[in-house]
Symmetry: C4
Subunit: 185 residues, 4 copies
C-alpha cells in the first residue's frame, strides 16, 4: 500500500457515499423540527387543536413535499453514484455543492411552510433544487471526462446525460418563470 | 457491469437500509429536543426544579413511549428487510411513505407531551403509527408480488403477512375508536 | 436461507451496531444546540460579547463534560459489543434501555449547563449515567447466559464483569450520595 | 478470537471512522438550523421578504463558509485516516478532541452569522479551527510513534507531517493576529 495511501484516490468512494447518505437522512428527518406544536387556550379542546393544526396545513404540505424532493435527490444520487469507480477532485468539489444544496433544503421547506403565497418563496425553493440539479449534471459530465465512469458504454452515458440535462432545463425554466413573475410583482 | 448500472436494480439494497437506519437513529435522538429545561425563579431551589420537572411528566412519558415505538418500528423493519433480495420501484415508494411516518414521529411525540389529555392528540399519534404499519404491510405484499422475497417459502411468507395484517388491524381499530370518540366530543 | 430469515437471529448484529453508532454520533453533535448565541446591545463590542460568553461558562463546561461522557459510553459499547456473536431478545431490549439513556443525555447536559449549582441537576445527570451503566452491565450478564459470548473464556468474561460492576457501583454511590444531599436540602 | 476481543485493539477502526463520519454529516446538516425564517408584517410582500433575507446575508455567508470548512475537515480526515492500521489509546483521545472541535462548529457558525463584525467572533471561530488542526497534527505524530502508520514510508510520513504543520502554523498565525487585534480593541 505504501506511497499509495497518499498518492492514491483523492477520497474514499465509500466514505463519500456514507457522508451523502448521512446528510440526506438528517435533512429528511430535521424537516420535522419546523413543525411547531401550537399554543392552545384550552388544552383539552378538540376544536381548538383541530383549527390550529388546520391553520398549519401549508407547513404539513411543505413537509411532505420537501420529504419527497429529498427522497428523489437521494434516489437519483444512488443511481448516479453506482457508475463511479473513483472520485476525482472535481467530482468531490461538485459533491460539496450538491450536499450544501441538500443540507440547505430544510430552510427552504420552513420558508415554504411559513410563506407559501409569497412568490419569492418559490424562487428560493426552486433555486435550491436548481443548485442541486446542475451540480448533479456537472458531476456526471466531469466524471466522464476524468474517466470515473469507464465501465459505462458511451450510449448509456449519453442517454443518462440527456435525461439529467432535460431535468435541469425543466427546473431552470420553472425557476426563470417564477423569477420574472416575482420581479414583476 | 456496463449497461447494468443503469438497467440493474432500481436502488441499492444496502444504501436504502442505511438511509432507513439513519432516519430511525435521528428520529429517536431528536425526540429529546422536545424536552425543554424549565425556567426557575430561584436557580438553586431543589423544590422548584423538582416541581417544574414533575410538571413536565407527560413530556417525559411521551419521550419514553415514542422511543419505544420507534424502537419497535426499527426492529420490525430489520426483520422484514432481511427477506428482500432486491428493492423494486413499488417497494421504494412505499419505503418513502414508511420513512415519512417515522420521521414525522417526533412531532407526534411533542404533541402528546404537550396535550396528553386532548383526544385529537391520540388520533394524530395513532394516525402516524397507522401510516407506518400499513406501509410495512403493503411493502411485504408488493415485495412478494415482484419476486423480491423469492428465498422465502410460501408458508413463511403467509405466516408473516398474517402477523403484519393483525398488527395493522389492531392499530386501525384503536385509531377508529379514538377518531369516533374525538368527533363525538 | 429460506425459513431462517424469520426463525434466525432476532436482529441483525451489524444493524444494531449501526443504530447505536448513529444515536451516539447524533447525541454528541446535538449537544451544541444547547449553546445559544447571546443577545448583545452593541453588536461590535468585544467586552460585551466576552462577558456574555463568560457568563455562559457553565454551559460550555457542561458541553465538554457531556461530550466526554458520551465518548466514554461509545468507547465502552464498542469494547463490549465486539464480544457478541448474536443479539438475543433480552439483549435487544436492554440495548434500547441503554440507547434511551444515551439519547436522553443532551437534556441532562442542558440542565447541567443552566442550573449547575442546583443539587437536583446532579442527581438527574448521574441518574442518566446510572441507567446507562447498569444496562451495560445487564447486557454483559444476559449475553453470557444466552451464549452470545461463547468465544470468550470464563476468566475473560468474569474479569470484564467485575470491571463493569465496579464502575456501576461507583456511579451508584455518587448517585445515592447526591440524592441524600438533595433530599436533605 | 478468544482473549483477543479484550486484549486486542483498543477500538474498532471502522466504528471510529463511522462515528466521525456521523459527526461530520450531522454538524454539516444542523448548520441550517441557525437560519431562521424571518417574521413578516405582510406575508405576501416580495419586497419585505427580500429585504429580510438580504438582512440575513451574513448568516447565509457564514453557513456556506462553515459548510466548506467542515467539508475540508472531513476531506483531510479521510486522507489521514486511510494511513492508520489500528487506533491506539492516544489516537482515540486525540480523535475525541478533534470531534469535539467539529461538533462545536455549528455554534461558531451561528456566532459568525449573528456578529460578523465583532472581532471576538473571529477569534472564537479560528480558535475552533485551531483545536481541530492541532489535534489532527498530533494524531499524525502519535500514530507514527505508536506504529499505526507502519505501511507508510518515512518520506511519505514526513512530507505529510510538514504539510499538516504548515497548515497548523498558518491557522495559529491568523488566530494570534486576531487575538491581539481583539485585545487591543
Amino acid at each position: 500500500m505504501k506511497e499509495e495511501t497518499l498518492e492514491g484516490p483523492i477520497v474514499s468512494r465509500s466514505r463519500l457515499e456514507f457522508l451523502c447518505d448521512g446528510v440526506f437522512a438528517i435533512a429528511m428527518t430535521i424537516l420535522v423540527l419546523e413543525l411547531k406544536v401550537p399554543d392552545l387556550a384550552d388544552r383539552r379542546s378538540v376544536a381548538e387543536l383541530a383549527s390550529a393544526l388546520a391553520h398549519e396545513a401549508p407547513t404539513f404540505f411543505s413537509y411532505l413535499l420537501s420529504f419527497v424532493v429529498l427522497g428523489i435527490f437521494w434516489f437519483r444520487h444512488d443511481q448516479q453514484y453506482r457508475a463511479f469507480r473513483i472520485i476525482t477532485p472535481g467530482m468531490l468539489m461538485l459533491h460539496f455543492a450538491q450536499l450544501a444544496g441538500a443540507a440547505f433544503f430544510p430552510f427552504c421547506a420552513a420558508l415554504m411552510g411559513r410563506y407559501p403565497t409569497n412568490p419569492l418563496t418559490i424562487v428560493v425553493y426552486l433555486g435550491c433544487i436548481l443548485v442541486y440539479a446542475w451540480s448533479s449534471f456537472a458531476i456526471w459530465v466531469v466524471a466522464r471526462k476524468t474517466g470515473s465512469t469507464a465501465d459505462l458504454t458511451t450510449a448509456a452515458y449519453e442517454k443518462s446525460r440527456s435525461r439529467w440535462l432535460r431535468a435541469c432545463l425543466v427546473v431552470s425554466m420553472f425557476f426563470v418563470f417564477n423569477l420574472i413573475r416575482t420581479l414583476a410583482n
